[in-house]
Structure formats: structure tokens, C-alpha cells
């Protein structure tokens, strides 16, 4: 994949490794609609899109069932080799739920096809006709310095396009999708081209303006290829070599984004644009983790590079809301903690009343997004989730494939641009109701109750191919362990802070059991995500040995993945080896760790006592067997007894 956001469709997940095999499988399926759409939802290059498109076309020709893809017949009129684009358009349209049937006009026949009632295009009764004409397909003459020649050129080009549009409408009843014209990058004078009447640059820009004005107020739609080509780079878009060799209107590397933009417009035409943006908070709406870093610690300030990147996300959400996109929050946080920046942080642009629904809890995001959609009476296919965490993105994609979840780059500076590039909110009209829609949805940031879990979480967890790695504290992990001990606030049962020297002492203390835990999964190495310190105590009644869990902390990034269960299982196994009978857990409340108040209760401990400050003491017999969660287990650095 290239590093270019647009040409690589970087907001879509990378294609599966076995893409070729999957395409081949589709070729043999009696009803390949759903797998076609799923495969089309990846960041495919022109070759891959072509392959998928040809397989879909073959299924259409053989009359196989392509539901739930909906048929759409698109006539294509233009100059250049259009046939090569067809499979790419078909695959791109499958991404948006269409079984696209393309009718291509014979090479070079634009006017004939539009005006003749029984032409291939008109007689096919298309739903829409794409007018893919570029500067080489228009009757244009460029006379530099001649203002009246410029006017004449613009007028004749616009009249030609309008005649064709009207003929299509008259003869076939189809609406026209009219492309603007990407100016070629070759200049005549240089910067002066924009000043001198009659230059290509001036004439083409005037035509594009005229096209936009002429479709306004009609049913025909604008497909702004000029802006797309300028965004990507006119020098990349226009390939003289490929034009000469094969009459390709754009470089083959630009074909995937071209197909995406055509398909996007068809979706908007059919009312399939998305309507609700669900925002994650930590490291998406602001930099940092509010539960750990606090109001003073999160990055939001003007003048701070990270802060400005996240403010740009907020700005974009606000402008989307102004044009009628409903906003919601889904964040893994305690609710009061998550709401605090909206209420108290002076740099926040987004406020609570910009959101229709505000979900801050520790449940999985798929369940929350489903609840948000139900509350707003929107389909899941109207929802977009923006979230910096790849595991959350992956989970929502797997459990709720209808929800759009853009891949995001590491650098938050590109979050807003990536969201815009994905085009989820492509629209073909803008009305007064649109402007009022966000208000109609009563932006009172209400919380909605969760019904049932959105899907089969266990099978999702299994699909993550997790591997959990246990080892004692050691020199290699020392710095990170100490960092975790001193930084973790939320998933931290006792919030005891220890220096690196303390950690080093614990490594060799025979009365102390330590555990550092890493988690690796299909999406990468999450690094060290948990640290445990248990201290040995002789039982008061001398009835046996006890381990008191002095420290149990975890990274919130791996919540909801049954890591706690596996960690407890590991502690119990080691405890039995050391002839320990009882495990004692302590919860010491802090301002930030309310989320683990019931941690030991959830794991099956029984409460021994509760103190005035809210501290609770818990116990569990070490003979307790804990069920294994779906992940592989690996150990290092400790001699293990045979189990």
C-alpha cells in the first residue's frame, strides 16, 4: 500500500492476505452478494478491484443471486477507454451495496448515443448515465489572449454538455451524473495562465463553474472529478503515457478513488449516506486518557501539536453537526469522568449539548453503538465510528459490519482529513431540514440503557488470536513496570506507587510473587498490559499460607477481553505450586478507580470486610478452578512445575 491517503483508500481496512483465493471462491458461489460486498470494503488497488469486479460481472451474466446487493444500471458516456473502468466501478459499487450493471457507449460515440432513441445507452433504460467527458472530449479551442474566444469556448462546451444531458433525459428518462473536468497540468505561460483569457486553465475552470450552475436546481448531479484530481495531484491524475498507449483518462493508480467517488454518489442518490457520527473520546476527541491524565493532563491546547490535531477533529464534528449529522459519544470511561472535559475544560469546542446520546461505560462498543442507533431510530448502516484504537475498530467491524469504521493513521493530525476523505456523509442536497436535524434529535447528551449484547463476543475474541505471556518481574521489564505502577489510575485496585528501585527489590524478594503480563493479538503486540504484586502472609490461625494482592493494575486498552480472568487463573496456579491456600484482594477507592470497585466480586471473590473509607477486602480459595478464556498462554523466566 502506498502512503497516499486518497489513492490507497487508506480509511478502508487492508485486504485479507488470501484475497485472491477469496475472489476465486466467490466465482463458485450460487449467492455471492454478501461476500462480494464484504470483500469490496477493503482498500483494494486497481488490479484487485478489477478482479473482484470481473467475478461480480460473471455472476450477473450467469444470473446468480447477488442479493442483498441492489441492482443499479449505469450508462457510461465518455471519451477514452471506458471498458477498463467497468470492473473497477462494479467492485466499488458493491462496497456501497449495489450490483452495478454498466452499459458502456461504443468508443467515441457520445452525441450519437445520447440523441438516438434506440442507442445502446437509451434502450437499456439506465437508472443514471455517467457523463465522463474530459477536456479531450469537448469541442474546445484555446486562443490565449482572446476574451471572446474564451467566452465562445465556454459557451459551446456547456451547450454541448447540456444538450447531451437533456437528450438522455428525454430518450431514456435517466438522470445524468455530470463530471467536472480536471485541468491538465501543462501550463502555457505559468502563473500568468490564470490571468490571460483563453488559456486552458481559465477555460476549463469557467466550464466547471458553468457545469455546477447548470445542474443546480435540476435532478442531474455533479460528480466533481476536477476537485478529486486536484486533491490527488493533477500531475499524477493525468498520465500522458497511459493516454497515448491506451486512452486511459487517468493514471491507473487513480482508478480506485475514482470508482469510490462514482459509487459514493450513487449511494447518496439512493439516500444511503450516513447520518450519525459516533466519537470515541480518549486520544480521539482529546489527546491522552482523561481517566489517567486528568483535566490538566489531556492535550487540547492551541499551540500544542497534539492538542490542535484533536481540536481539528472537534471542529470537523461541529461543522458536520451544523449540516445535519447527528453526533454521539461512545467511550470506555466512567460517565462522570468522561463528561468532565465537556463541562470544565476551557479549550473544548464540543459541548455536551452537541450530542444526542452520550455513552460512557465499560461495555463493548458494538453494544453501545447498537443502543445509540436504536435510540435515534437510525439503521446501523447510518452510523460511523471514529476511534483511535485498532482493537475497538476491529471489534465493531466484525460484530456490526454495517457500521462504517475508518482506519486511522498513527498521527492524530490526519484524523480529520481521513474522516473527510472517507466520504461517509456525501450528499446531493442541502435543505433547511438538514440544518435543523441535529436539533431535532434533541441534543441532550442522554444516556441510553443497554439491551442485549450486540453479538457473539466470545467468537470475536477467539478471532483475535490472542496470546497472553506471563513472567515474573525482571530487569528488562523494570522500567515499563515502574511506569505502569506510577501512571495507571483507572484499572488500579490499590493505587500504590513504587519506584524503580522498589520494583528491582521485588524481583528477588522470596516473599513476593510478581507477574508481568503481555498481550499479543492478530492486530499487533499490545506490550505490557498488566502488573501484579502478591505478598506472602502467614494466616493468623496458622491454618495455611495467604497471598495478599498488593498491586493489580491493567491497561484499559485491553478491557473486555477476559484478560483479568486469565491473570487470576495464572495467579491461582502459581499459588497452588507454592502451597498457598488463600488469595486476598484489596480494593482501595481513589478518585479515578471506581471502574474496578466490583473487580473481585466479578471474579468470584467473597467480601471479608469493608472499611469506613470504602476499602474492601476479599478472599478466594486457591483451589478455585477458573475457566480458560480463548487465548494461547506462554510463560517466560520461571521454572514451571509440571501441571
Amino acid at each position: 500500500m502506498t502512503d497516499d491517503l486518497y489513492t490507497s483508500l487508506a480509511w478502508l481496512p487492508a485486504p485479507p492476505r488470501d484475497f485472491a483465493a477469496r475472489v476465486k471462491n466467490i466465482d463458485a458461489m450460487p449467492a455471492p452478494g454478501a461476500p462480494c460486498r464484504a470483500l469490496a470494503g477493503h482498500a483494494l488497488d486497481d488490479n484487485q478491484l478489477g478482479r473482484l469486479g470481473r467475478v461480480i460481472i460473471r455472476a450477473q451474466q450467469q444470473g446468480r443471486d447477488l442479493s442483498p446487493l441492489q441492482p443499479f444500471r449505469l450508462g457510461i458516456l465518455g471519451n477514452g477507454t471506458l471498458d477498463l473502468f467497468v470492473p473497477l466501478l462494479v467492485a466499488s459499487a458493491a462496497r456501497y451495496g449495489f450490483a452495478l450493471d454498466c452499459i458502456v457507449a461504443p468508443y467515441g460515440q457520445i452525441a450519437q448515443q445520447a440523441f438516438t432513441p434506440d442507442s445502446v445507452i437509451n434502450s437499456s433504460k439506465p437508472d443514471a448515465v455517467l457523463l465522463a467527458v474530459d477536456h479531450r472530449g469537448l469541442p474546445l479551442r484555446f486562443v490565449a489572449g482572446d476574451e471572446s474566444a474564451e467566452r465562445a469556448a465556454v459557451e459551446s462546451a456547456l451547450a454541448y454538455l447540456t444538450d447531451i444531458r437533456q437528450a438522455i433525459r428525454r430518450q431514456s428518462g435517466a438522470i445524468a451524473l455530470v463530471q467536472t473536468i480536471p485541468p491538465p497540468p501543462e501550463v502555457l505561460f505559468g502563473s500568468f495562465d490564470r490571468v490571460v483569457p483563453g488559456t486552458k486553465r481559465r477555460v476549463i475552470e469557467a466550464i466547471n463553474r458553468g457545469i455546477a450552475e447548470s445542474v443546480s436546481g435540476t435532478e442531474d448531479l455533479l460528480l466533481d472529478i476536477a476537485t478529486l484530481a486536484e486533491t490527488i495531484g493533477l500531475g499524477l491524475w493525468h498520465s500522458p503515457a497511459l493516454w497515448n498507449m491506451a486512452k486511459l483518462g487517468c493514471d491507473n493508480r487513480c482508478m480506485p478513488i475514482y470508482g469510490e467517488h462514482v459509487a459514493r454518489l450513487l449511494a447518496a442518490l439512493r439516500g444511503r449516506s450516513r447520518k450519525c457520527l459516533v466519537l470515541d473520546l480518549d486520544n480521539t476527541v482529546w489527546g491522552g486518557v482523561i481517566g489517567d491524565d486528568g483535566l490538566e493532563g489531556i492535550k487540547l491546547a492551541q499551540g500544542d501539536a497534539t492538542g490542535e490535531a484533536h481540536l481539528a477533529v472537534q471542529e470537523m464534528a461541529l461543522t458536520l453537526r451544523q449540516r445535519g449529522i447527528v453526533l454521539a459519544v461512545s467511550s470506555k470511561n466512567d460517565e462522570a469522568v468522561a463528561r468532565a472535559p465537556f463541562q470544565k475544560h476551557p479549550e473544548m469546542r464540543l459541548k455536551e449539548d452537541h450530542f444526542a446520546v452520550f455513552q460512557a461505560n465499560w461495555q463493548d462498543k458494538a453494544t453501545n453503538i447498537k443502543a445509540i442507533a436504536e435510540e435515534l431510530c437510525l439503521g446501523l448502516d447510518a452510523m460511523v465510528l471514529i476511534d483511535d484504537n485498532p482493537v475497538e475498530r476491529d471489534l465493531v467491524r466484525q460484530m456490526l459490519p454495517q457500521v462504517a469504521v475508518p482506519e486511522l493513521p498513527e498521527d492524530p493530525a490526519l484524523f480529520a482529513r481521513t474522516l473527510a476523505a472517507a466520504g461517509y456523509f456525501e450528499s446531493v442536497a442541502f435543505s433547511a431540514e438538514d440544518r435543523e436535524r441535529a436539533e431535532m434529535y434533541q441534543s441532550n447528551a442522554r444516556r441510553v440503557a443497554l439491551q442485549n449484547q450486540a453479538g457473539d463476543l466470545d467468537s470475536y475474541l477467539a478471532s483475535l488470536e490472542m496470546e497472553i505471556v506471563f513472567g515474573p518481574f525482571d530487569r528488562t521489564g523494570r522500567a515499563r513496570i515502574s511506569q505502569l505502577i506510577n501512571k495507571s489510575n483507572q484499572f488500579n485496585l490499590t493505587t500504590r506507587r513504587y519506584s524503580e528501585a522498589d520494583v528491582a527489590t521485588a524481583e528477588t524478594d522470596r516473599e513476593v510473587f510478581t507477574l508481568q503480563v503481555r498481550l499479543i493479538d492478530r492486530l499487533g503486540d499490545n506490550g505490557m498490559i498488566c502488573a501484579i504484586i502478591c505478598r506472602t502472609e502467614a494466616d493468623e490461625n496458622d491454618s495455611g499460607r495467604t497471598w495478599r494482592i498488593d498491586t493489580w493494575l491493567m491497561s484499559c486498552r485491553v478491557l473486555g477481553r477476559k484478560v483479568e480472568q486469565m491473570v487470576l487463573r495464572e495467579i491461582l496456579m502459581r499459588a497452588r505450586e507454592e502451597a498457598v491456600d488463600t488469595l486476598v484482594g484489596v480494593y482501595r477507592p481513589s478518585e479515578k478507580n471506581a471502574m474496578v470497585r466490583d473487580h473481585y466480586a466479578r471474579l468470584g471473590f467473597s467480601k471479608l470486610s469493608e472499611e469506613a473509607d470504602g476499602t474492601t477486602i476479599w478472599a478466594l480459595a486457591c483451589s478455585t478452578e477458573i475457566e480458560a478464556a480463548p487465548m494461547a498462554v506462554r510463560h517466560f523466566g520461571r521454572e514451571l512445575a509440571e501441571v
Partner: protein, 81 residues
Amino acid sequence: MDEIYRRLAHIFRDVFEDESIAVAPELTAPEVPGWDSLSHIRLILEVQRAFGIKFAAAQTANLKNVGELAELIQAKTAAAA
């Protein structure tokens, strides 16, 4: 040259969707089902991508057989190295 043919075989099987194509110097377009002007463009695009080279239109228009294509690739990749 062997390496070029090995990679060409992969590209041919991909473009013409036929796992049984035997890519040899004497192979010509009429012998391969589906090798028309359109799939010729796809073939050229894939060769350019795979070998990281660019052809001029004149170079690809008059190729007589796969052997000439392979020689062109060799000349281009040698020039690039």
C-alpha cells in the same frame, strides 16, 4: 531472465485468469484466450507495477511475442539498476 519469466508467468495467470498458461518466449497473443486489446493494457499495467518500470507506447505496441516483452523488461530493469 529466468526470474523475469517466473514473474511473468505469475502476472499472466493473474491477468488472464488461467492457471495453466505456460509462459514461454514464443508465446503470442492469439494463443492465449482472452488476450485482446483491453487485457493487453491490463497486462502492461501489471508488468509496469510488478517490475517498477514504465514503457513508452511505441515499445508495447509492436511486441511480437512474450520473448520480446521479456527482453524489453530486462533492458528496462537493467537501465534502472
